[in-house]
Amino acid sequence: MVEGTSPGAIRPGAPTVIEVRDLGVRYSLRLTRKNTVRQSFANLLRRREGPSSFWALRHVSFSLTKGESLAIIGPNGAGKSTLLQALAGIITPSEGQIDVRGQISSLLTLGAGFDAELTGRDNILLAGAFMGMDHREMARRIDSIIEFADLGQFIDAPIKTYSTGMRARLGFSIATAIDPDILLLDEVLATGDQVFRAKSQARVLELVRAAKGIVLVTHDMNWVTEFCNRAILLEQGHIAAEGDPAEVVAIHREHSEQVKAQKAAEAARVLAAAR
C-alpha cells in the first residue's frame, strides 16, 4: 500500500511523548450509571456483600516515543477503551501517573457527541471549541475538514439527516484535521465505506510519517502487523505482552484460541450436566 512506514522504524533518541507509570483505574460499583437515591440506600444496606470496586486497569506501564504507532489489542472488556480514556485525560487515574507532552486529539467513538439539531458546519466549530482549538485556527481549517469529509451539500444540513457513514466521516475528518501531536483512535478504521476507509488509512499513515504519536485500539490485526511499530496486548486490565506487532498478535491469537477451547469445554460440560 503506502511506502515508507516500515514497522519498527523508530528513530533512536526520539523524545518520549507519553509516559505511563504503574497506571491503575478503579471503577466503583456503587456509583454506577443512572443511580437513584433508592439504589444508593439499597447499596448502603448491602455494604459488605461482594466487591465494591474493580480495577479496569492495574500496573500498566509503557511509553510512546515521537513517531511511533502503538496498537492496543486484546479481548473485549480487557480495558483497552479505558486506557485510551485515561490517556485522553477523560478519566483520572486511581493510581500511578500519566505524563503527556503535546496536544492530544482523541477519536474514541466516531461521531458521538455531535449535536443532531445543528448543521455539519456548526458541529465542526463546536467540536473544535470542545477540543480547545483556537477559533481562528478552526476557521482556517474548516474548508479542508469539509473537503475531506466529502459531504457536499449536506454540510449545511442538520446532522440528524446524515447517514451513519457520513457522521463517521465528519468525525474522523475533524479529529485528524486539528493536526494533533498525539492521536488516539478507537476502532475507527473499520467505519465508513471502502473508499473512505482507504482515505482514512492514508490519513493515519500521513500522521505517522509526520512523526506524530498514535495509539490505536483495533481488532484489525492486519493493520496492526502492517502499520504499527509496536503492540500491547491487554488482558483483564494487565499488559500480557508487549513488543513487535507480529509477535504480540501471535500471542493474542494463541490466547484467544485457548479461551475459545476453554469456553467450548465449559459449554460441553454445562450441556452434559443438563442431560
Binding site: 443512572k34 515521537k66 477523560i90 478519566i91 503535546g102
Partner: protein
C-alpha cells in the same frame, strides 16, 4: 524534523496526571476561572446552539418565550381574582413582575440539571472542562428573561401606562444578583444529577413549593401579617432569596398598590449579592470535586 525533548516541552507544556496532584480549594477555584475564561468561545457557541434549537422545534418558535409568561399570568389571574376573589389593584402586572424572573430561574435550573448528563457521549470522548456546560445553559437562560421584557413593555404601555416609572432602569441590577444566585444553583444541580437522577423529579415539586412560599402571587405584607401569629415561619420565608428578588422587581415594575413608584430592597439585595457570591464559590468547589468522577459514572 529534529525536535528535541526540550523544544517539545516548550511548545506544549507537559500535562502530568496523577492521583498525587490534587489542587486545594483555592487551586480548584482558580482552575474553574481559567477554564471558563479560556473556553468563552465554546460557551458562546453553546449558547447560540441552545437558542437556535429552542426556537426551531415549535411552530411559533421563540414567540413562545413571549406567550408563555403571558399565558401563565392569565392562569394565575383567573385563579386568584376570579376564584379566590382577592382584589389587588392591577393584579395582572402585580404577578407578572414575579412570573418573569421565576420563569427565568426555573428554566435555567431545568436546563442545568440535564446540561451535564445530556452531553454524556461527548464527556466520554473528549477531555474538556465540564463546568462550561451549566455555565452555558445559565447564560442561555438569560435570553428567556430578555424576551420576557417584550410582553412586559407591552403590558405597561398598553394597559398600565400610569405605572411606568424611571425605577424600571433598576431591573438589570436585580437581574444581575439573581444571575449569580442562579449560576451557583445550576452548578449544584448539574453536578449532583450525574449521581442521582432523582434531582429532575424532585426539583419539579420543590420548585413549585418554593414559588408558593415566595411572595409572587401575594405581597410581602402577607408574610408580615403571618409574623404576628407565627414569627418563625415568617423569618424563614424572609430568608428566601426570592423574597428579596420578587419584592425588588415588583417595587420597580409595579410600585406600591396605589401606584407610587418605589425602590428595590437595596439592603437585602446587597446581602444577597454577597451571599450569592459565597454560594457560587462553594458550588464551584462542589462541582470541581465531583467532576473527575463524571466520565466514570455516566
Amino acid at each position: 524534523m529534529d525536535i528535541t525533548g526540550e523544544e517539545i516541552a516548550r511548545e506544549a507544556p507537559a500535562s502530568l496526571r496523577s492521583t498525587a496532584i490534587r489542587p486545594g480549594p483555592l487551586g480548584l477555584i482558580g482552575e474553574a476561572l481559567r477554564e471558563t475564561w479560556s473556553r468563552r468561545r465554546l460557551i458562546r457557541y453553546l449558547v447560540q446552539a441552545d437558542l437556535k434549537k429552542k426556537g426551531s422545534d415549535t411552530v411559533l418558535g421563540n414567540i413562545w418565550w413571549i406567550l408563555d409568561p403571558l399565558l401563565q399570568m392569565v392562569v394565575y389571574v383567573i385563579l386568584v381574582s376570579v376564584i379566590f376573589q382577592r382584589t389587588t389593584p392591577d393584579y395582572p402586572l402585580f404577578i407578572f413582575a414575579a412570573i418573569l424572573p421565576w420563569k427565568w430561574f426555573t428554566s435555567s435550573v431545568y436546563d442545568a440539571i440535564t446540561s451535564v448528563v445530556g452531553q454524556e457521549r461527548l464527556i466520554k470522548q473528549i477531555q474538556f472542562p465540564k463546568i462550561i456546560l451549566p455555565t452555558a445553559t445559565t447564560f442561555a437562560g438569560v435570553a428567556n428573561f430578555a424576551f420576557g421584557m417584550i410582553p412586559l413593555a407591552g403590558l405597561l404601555v398598553l394597559f398600565y401606562s400610569d405605572r411606568i416609572s424611571p425605577t424600571l432602569v433598576f431591573i438589570p441590577l436585580i437581574a444581575a444578583v439573581q444571575f449569580v444566585f442562579t449560576l451557583a444553583f445550576s452548578f449544584v444541580v448539574a453536578g449532583i444529577n450525574v449521581f442521582f437522577r432523582d434531582i429532575a423529579n424532585v426539583s419539579r415539586h420543590a420548585l413549585r413549593l418554593w414559588f408558593y412560599l415566595s411572595p409572587g402571587l401575594y405581597s410581602a405584607a402577607a408574610i408580615e401579617k403571618l409574623r404576628e401569629t407565627n414569627p418563625l415561619i415568617a423569618d424563614v420565608m424572609a430568608i428566601n432569596p426570592f423574597y428579596t428578588f420578587f419584592e425588588s422587581y415588583r417595587n420597580v415594575i409595579y410600585g406600591t398598590p396605589t401606584g407610587a413608584p418605589s425602590m428595590p430592597l437595596w439592603g437585602h439585595l446587597a446581602a444577597w449579592l454577597a451571599g450569592s457570591v459565597v454560594l457560587l464559590v462553594l458550588a464551584t468547589l462542589l462541582f470541581k470535586r465531583l467532576e473527575p468522577a463524571f466520565a466514570k459514572v455516566l
